[in-house]
Subunit: 404 residues, 2 copies
């Protein structure tokens, strides 16, 4: 029997691929500080588990494929509070943002088609596309330029020269951006909107980090852009904003009626989303702004402390992340994956070590990002500083080839 | 912007498509008896919600992509008790059997490929395949023959004449079968094994109804067949056996190491399965055989009562289901979907009506199954008898075209 072609190229998650090494290191009694994963350490609102605990039924039953009414209403209200109004039947609850992204690719792309994305991009975009025989067409952005959105002419030149212009179906963007932390300016958003219109593309707007904006500018959603209202697929999740990654609750919102009709069929295909997680998510309408404000303040302090430390290290390029809770760091080694592995196995400070994510698989262009890391700041500032001690020590002692 | 080709053909779930009509009927105060869906009415083991309620964490966090250790161990033990032994790393926990089936299609089929199935088959096989540009190649089985597995020569003739012999990658089967209720004999299984070997196919064995066997023969799993150990993808779910459809917990078990490596990448793509549902599912190692035995007895009584009633109606063909909790019924009307709709809107007995599932979309061959229904028996015998009163009344009064 044969495997499918697409299964040949599925990437191992760079965020999760070191799991076995971590287990081995931990078995030696060494503590591993996790700067690899976007798993918030902030407590989940107590309302979540309280709602679940008081859900008393004899039979844990299937729910509507589109989502439970209260969960949909909570999602609707949440978006409304950002000025984004959707009817209940323009929403659906998904198994995390991951399923929302997978459904979006299924409904918009044929196998062999392409999706535009700015690299570095959230690495799962690769596997989500690959699993469906779809490829990411990357537009490179660079640490040296602060990962800014390239000007429109540069997009047009890239698309025209790509040789696959007619097979580009969608533009996918995370905003605020994972991994770069960019909070896009209105001008940058205008460029993207212009490209989406000019090439008649869907815009898959992954805004799961909406709350994590450390700039003085307000965050703008792509769903505010009336001129592309029928082509925006707004993807969201409660994982980051409510520290609820283990509840697999995401959503899709769109004003495109045909998309809505078809996404319901995808929802029916997998019957429904976890009842208990939906019960908990529905209760998130109790969470007040203070929770979100406090988290933003905490993450901003961590970012500042992290940046301050990185700025003092030599040979490092680390543009300030304006949002989300990651930073991309260009380091003076030629293979960041080897560096991450070596650090994990060899560097100990107070019997602790650190796990980071090599950034290569956040790029679509072969070879790019090999000297970059993504660090998350989902641990306290104290632990973050311990991690930086280890990182600094590792950079000093690393015997592998340095780039210069 | 364009939609994908595959999105054009996605079917609406025939099991869920009457939701709006049902709401309207219920709004009039009429009770709708649900014989459409495989949603057990039996109580979920109390251990499930108890385990969830006592899960006390500050942060509801991501879990391992393959599954939580205790949940994997419970799955391992469950299979072991059926004589099926898998290492922990030969298992993964999925978002219901639905995701397990989707992953299996992704890893084994290219777009344009085919999967063999005996029709009538579980209707979601259509959408799961369609969503990936894959098609079901149906082998017809008939109510008149008790939906038996056709002899090997018939399979070979069908495959050779299909014109797509080289594009068939897998055989998918639900056993015990949804919707026909067949519990396959050893001889029938041998035929399937022979076909799978002869045409070098994967065997996707969907055994979520394993516990629901009303025959005196022991149930045999395709995973017992040593000669195809490397090509069997065993799909399971706690939904039916533990009345826990709202917990989206399924699993994949396989001895094929390459499949296992690749399915882990699919698991990583969507990060993890619901933490709370996994906590509940892990506690299912507390459920004793008495729970399962009692349920089997209850369903068997319902089946017998249902069959007895159906046997007394004229013009009906309803082979005895040996397992699962469905029966396929051939009725003397030319369009069962119209009949279902008409019944829902027009027939009332004691202010109740009944919802049934038209069976056409359980078939791949156009036109087949148009005069068939699938009835589930997930309600008490008393309610089932009320439903049969309504069904009988509907058959008498139906003004639509009868077949003869």
């Amino acid at each position: 029997m044969k495997f499918s072609e697409r299964s040949e190229t599925l990437q191992a998650s760079p965020i999760r691929k070191f799991a076995d090494t971590v287990s081995a290191v931990e078995a030696e009694g060494v503590k591993v500080i996790p700067l690899n994963i976007g798993q918030p350490d902030i407590e989940t609102p107590a309302d979540f588990l309280e709602a679940v605990r008081s859900y008393d039924v004899d039979v844990l039953a299937y729910q509507n494929s589109r989502g439970m009414t209260h969960t949909l209403q909570t999602t609707q209200l949440y978006l409304h509070n950002y000025g984004l109004d959707f009817d209940l039947n323009e929403l659906c609850i998904t198994n995390g943002a991951s399923e929302a992204l997978s459904f979006s690719v299924t409904l918009t792309c044929n196998p062999g088609d392409y999706i535009l994305a700015m690299e570095p991009y959230y690495t799962s975009y690769n596997s989500i596309a690959q699993a469906q025989g779809v490829r990411i067409l990357p537009m490179t952005t660079r640490a040296e330029d602060g990962f800014r959105v390239p000007p429109q002419e540069q997009w047009e030149a890239m698309i025209e020269q790509s040789g696959v212009k007619d097979r580009i179906r969608a533009f996918i963007i995370s905003s605020p951006a994972n991994p770069t932390g960019r909070v896009y300016t209105k001008e940058e958003m205008d460029t993207i909107v212009a490209i989406v219109k000019k090439y008649d593309l869907w815009l898959i707007a992954d805004e799961v980090y909406r709350e994590f904006n450390y700039t003085d500018r307000p965050f703008h959603s792509f769903a505010e852009e009336d001129s592309i209202a029928d082509r925006v697929i707004l993807v969201d999740s409660i994982s980051k904003k409510y520290s609820a990654c283990g509840a697999r609750i995401g959503s899709i919102a769109t004003h495109n009626p045909t998309f809505n009709e078809r996404v319901l069929r995808m929802c029916q295909m997998r019957l429904c989303v976890s009842t208990l997680d939906q019960i908990g998510a529905a209760a998130m309408d109790n969470v007040d702004d203070a929770y979100v404000e406090r988290n933003r303040r905490i993450y901003k302090e961590r970012r500042d402390a992290l940046r301050e430390r990185l700025n003092r290290m030599e040979g490092i390029i680390a543009p300030e992340p304006e949002g989300a809770f990651y930073i991309v760091v260009k380091i003076p080694v030629d293979n960041a994956e080897d560096f991450v592995n070596w650090t994990l196995q060899n560097v100990r400070v107070n019997n602790k070590t650190v796990l980071m994510t090599p950034a290569e698989s956040f790029y679509g262009t072969p070879g790019l990002g090999r000297d970059e890391l993504r660090l998350s700041y989902c641990v306290s500032t104290d632990v973050l500083m311990e991690a930086m001690d280890i990182f600094e020590e590792a950079l000093k002692r690393y015997p592998g080839t340095s780039q210069d």
